[in-house]
């Protein structure tokens, strides 16, 4: 591209992207800094006075520290479900990739189904009730595991194709059983793709709204996404608090983005290149 072209085009793109993508975020931040009266005007304007600290305290303490409980719940949900999901998916992918058998086609089919089929809501609730897990964190964790397995299995299976089998064999010759081969030899080799899976699924589970809404109803059980939903009506016209809440909830994904943007992108675009 000609030097002038890249500047003109780049300049235009930066300008357009600022209007389209940055203004909405700036709006959230500015509103979170305003006092109640000015926030209620819902203008894109500079705050008359900076009230962020006070807004922060009000949001955090609202309704007996609901937001703190919500952050704890979301943390438990995300960490537990992603940890279980990744280990179970890695085990599945290991056998799936290494050992062609009459099960392979069925497992492949089920993995695909998991990616495509929308979960059946009320029957899932019924099953959870039958197990005594409806309205429990354990139940929701297992639901997230079930729904996230397929993505992780695919990611791991594609990666395992690049890990030489000879490594397994040499471990076997050294007398290792399947558990040791997998957990001490193969799984450590998959660390990079495991990190990718963890990051992508953490973002997905953390941002999940629908499943907590259906499977973990109740005020004390609330996750961060549901605080927005609940506070929306509760705050009424207190837009400064609503947007402070949005801002707080955006912090974890922002950190993930700053620290590991490349890996998240790699995970989310995996497969686009093969063809």
């Amino acid at each position: 591209m000609r030097p002038r072209g890249r500047h003109v085009l780049g300049g235009t793109a930066i300008l357009v992207s600022a209007v389209v993508f940055l203004v909405p975020f700036a709006f959230v931040v500015l509103t979170a800094f305003k006092d109640r009266a000015q926030a209620a005007e819902l203008d894109f304007s500079w705050p008359h006075q900076f009230r962020f600290a006070r807004n922060l305290v009000e949001v955090v303490t609202a309704r007996d520290y609901t937001l703190v409980i919500a952050f704890a719940n979301s943390a438990i949900l995300t960490v537990a479900s992603v940890a279980v999901m990744v280990v179970l998916a890695a085990m599945t992918a290991f056998v799936l990739q290494r050992r062609p058998s009459r099960w392979t086609r069925l497992v492949d089919f089920l993995v695909l189904s998991g990616l495509i089929i929308p979960p059946a809501v009320v029957p899932t609730i019924r099953v959870l009730q039958g197990l005594g897990l409806f309205r429990t964190m354990t139940g929701l964790i297992l639901v997230e595991v079930a729904f996230g397995l397929s993505f992780c299995v695919l990611l791991f299976r594609n990666f395992l194709a690049t890990v030489p089998r000879e490594l397994d064999d040499s471990a076997v010759i050294d007398g290792a059983g399947p558990l040791r081969v997998f957990f001490l030899v193969v799984f450590p080799l998959m660390r990079s793709v495991a990190v990718t899976a963890v990051l992508v699924q953490s973002v997905v589970v953390y941002n999940d709204f629908t499943n907590p809404l259906y499977f973990l109803p109740g005020d004390r059980n609330v996750t961060v996404q549901l605080t927005l939903y609940n506070f929306q009506s509760q705050y009424g016209t207190q837009y400064n608090l609503l947007f402070t809440n949005i801002l707080l909830i955006t912090v974890p994904p922002l950190l993930a983005f700053l620290v590991a943007n490349r890996r998240i992108v790699a995970g989310m675009t995996a497969g686009a290149v093969k063809g």
């Binding site: 809501v121 959870l128 397995l149 063809g275």
Partner: protein
């Protein structure tokens, strides 16, 4: 079978045991597979969780007869087609731009991708405010350049499309990055050969880049269709299916019927969604490129 083959088979069996499938299979089977299978039966019942009564295809008849529910079906199709279409139409040129040596490339990639990671509910609430008909920021901005913006979310003929636009705003970054991955994987020699043969920039785009990033297009279309057909969070946050039921989709109908206690009807909605997604996505993934099934 020779002794070596038997030994190898035996060894393979013990190092890669089938029971490794078991933990995943139990969770997946109980909480995903079993409910999916059960949904076909319960969609044929009047169901209160304690009790169910077989009523044949009555639920489906209701779904396809009540105008409010029929609207949900057509809206789902419109929403999925509009969002996936726009993601392709905007994502590809953006990716071409962001793989060129344009100024500010790293910044642009980040800013386009970041919305993918943030909370859908947060985005929905923010845009609900920005799209307010009277004094919302978007219409103020449009007025400044002499355009009178529509009433977006409160106008029945624009509500669904407005939500779809926000969906594209949030999701186009992923489409762009998938395209970037596709474009980067095209060997440079193809473009050089095209230039040697006298192809201009447009010809190179049309005859080299476009066909060779077909796998990326397939991925973008399939992912956006799956997402678009199942979409719930954003619509629920922004319009609750309103005004009236003009922006309802199948997923919001499922939720509303669930809230109202019509579990059989809600599950019938789930079955319809299942069939729609399968009927649309399966042939498409087979047709557009077999290998792409592995996302």
């Amino acid at each position: 079978m020779s002794g070596v083959a038997i030994a190898r088979r035996h060894r393979a069996g013990s190092v890669y045991p089938h029971w490794f499938y078991l933990p995943a299979a139990v969770v997946y089977g109980t909480l995903f597979l079993a409910p999916t299978v059960a949904s076909f039966y319960f969609s044929l019942t009047r169901w209160t969780l304690f009790d169910h009564e077989f009523i044949g295809l009555e639920n489906f008849a209701v779904l396809f007869r009540e105008p409010a529910l029929v609207k949900g079906m057509t809206n789902t199709a419109v929403y999925a087609v509009v969002t996936s279409g726009l993601k392709v139409v905007l994502g590809l040129p953006l990716a071409v731009l962001l793989t060129s040596d344009v100024v500010g490339r790293a910044y642009l990639r980040s800013v386009v991708f970041f919305p993918v990671l943030v909370s859908t509910i947060g985005v929905g609430i923010t845009f609900t405010v920005l799209m307010r008909p009277g004094d919302g920021l978007i219409n103020d901005g449009l007025a400044a350049i002499g355009i009178k913006g529509p009433a977006w979310l409160t106008d029945p003929s624009y509500a669904l499309l407005s939500v779809a636009l926000v969906d594209v705003w949030k999701g186009v970054g992923l489409a762009t990055l998938i395209y970037i991955a596709g474009i980067v994987s095209i060997p440079r020699e193809y473009f050089e050969a095209a230039t040697v043969d006298g192809a201009g920039r447009f010809a190179a785009f049309w005859h080299v880049l476009l066909p060779l990033c077909r796998p990326a297009t397939v991925t973008v279309v399939i992912l956006s269709l799956i997402g678009g057909l199942r979409s719930f969070d954003l619509i629920w946050t922004m319009t609750r299916g309103g005004p009236g039921f003009t922006s309802d989709v199948i997923a919001s109908v499922i939720y509303k019927q669930y809230q109202a206690g019509f579990y059989g009807l809600s599950t019938a909605g789930n079955v319809v969604l299942f069939l729609v997604v399968t009927v649309v996505v399966l042939p498409l993934s087979l047709l557009l490129g077999r290998k792409q099934v592995e996302l």
